[in-house]
Symmetry: C2
Amino acid sequence: MRTNHQRRNFLKTGTVVGVASLFGPVLASPLPEEKALEASATAVLEIIHKRRSVRQYRSDPVPAEHITLILDAARMAPTAGNQQPWKFLVIQDRTKLNELKAACLQQGIERIKKREKLSEEAFQEREQKLIQYYEKCFSAPVYIVVLVDTECQYPDYNKHDGALAAGNLMLAARALGYGTVYYTGSIPAEITQKVLNIPERYERICITPVGIPEKWPDTPPKKDLKELVVYEQF
Amino acid sequence: MRTNHQRRNFLKTGTVVGVASLFGPVLASPLPEEKALEASATAVLEIIHKRRSVRQYRSDPVPAEHITLILDAARMAPTAGNQQPWKFLVIQDRTKLNELKAACLQQGIERIKKREKLSEEAFQEREQKLIQYYEKCFSAPVYIVVLVDTECQYPDYNKHDGALAAGNLMLAARALGYGTVYYTGSIPAEITQKVLNIPERYERICITPVGIPEKWPDTPPKKDLKELVVYEQF
């Protein structure tokens, strides 16, 4: 079924191809209804490995039904005491997205001015890079802002609930063929909140584009599992 | 392919069966390598819908290879600047798990004593319930503590990174036939840290059992998508 070499290699690189097949039959559950899930298990593990943070998109539209499926996956995330404190704000209006892009760019440029003493030439180079960065950032047809309600039942757990919903959203999008990326600082929360007129009671967790990637990026370098896992005790 | 009635019903209930088939072919990507993923898309959406928070387990062991696959999925989560601040502490030692259970129970009992004036009979009833609760809580063969390193590159994003890794972990476990549950308050962080001798630099995000459920719980009541989604503006 597998060789030790293949297995070591998989553990080291997180190589996608045949993730589960390397380990032989993946299900050991004695529950009979689980026996049918073997193909699903492989699919889920592969999609988890194939999700990438995508920072440049094609302009092809995302059908409304796909957006619905993606949001529907988000709302199935675990949530403290089943509180479901989420709001998902979906933006496709190009005018609004351009406003958001302009506001992010402006703040970025002001920061460069404040933080650094640059020659005019060096400044223009930095500015140009920032413009290109935000062009790519806003190249997708759809953006979803993941918000949590600060007036919910267990607000202390909102950060968990928000990130978990965003995680489901990104995997569902990947499964449907779309890229996403969990933007936090690059598209600042306060700018998002202001430009999109988001009521104060909602706290932003992240914003993600949804769209077909210009290309799927390579897997960034990942730590070995053995660096991350501790068995029984430190 | 689908009727409006079926579709409305799906959106209302989040019914699992045939999630994607209701929407016809799920992939619209023009990238040729994505065409093969249609079955995977359905599988991923179904597994997301089938994950449940499981609070009682069978004692059947989880093979080491499955634990590896589950942790390997966790480490593929999105992470700020690719920092990967995680440590996953895997506990299977029954003596340690019993210590953790006893410490949680003791704190629970002390809290009942402090917070409420109860008759001896009422107190014993509450105590008995708590004992049963923690028996179930600790009925799984494996526990994974999800930790983040406070001395990492971008500690401000650790809560996101931690929850996202835990989300992947829970979906991979579900795909392999195992239940999980994102425990926070029920197994307090400070007790976990102390009993399991976790160095202070690691902050606990959550702890989850991994095991075959005694039974898969029903889906708890979920909010309609229309309650959670805002298109374009509030």
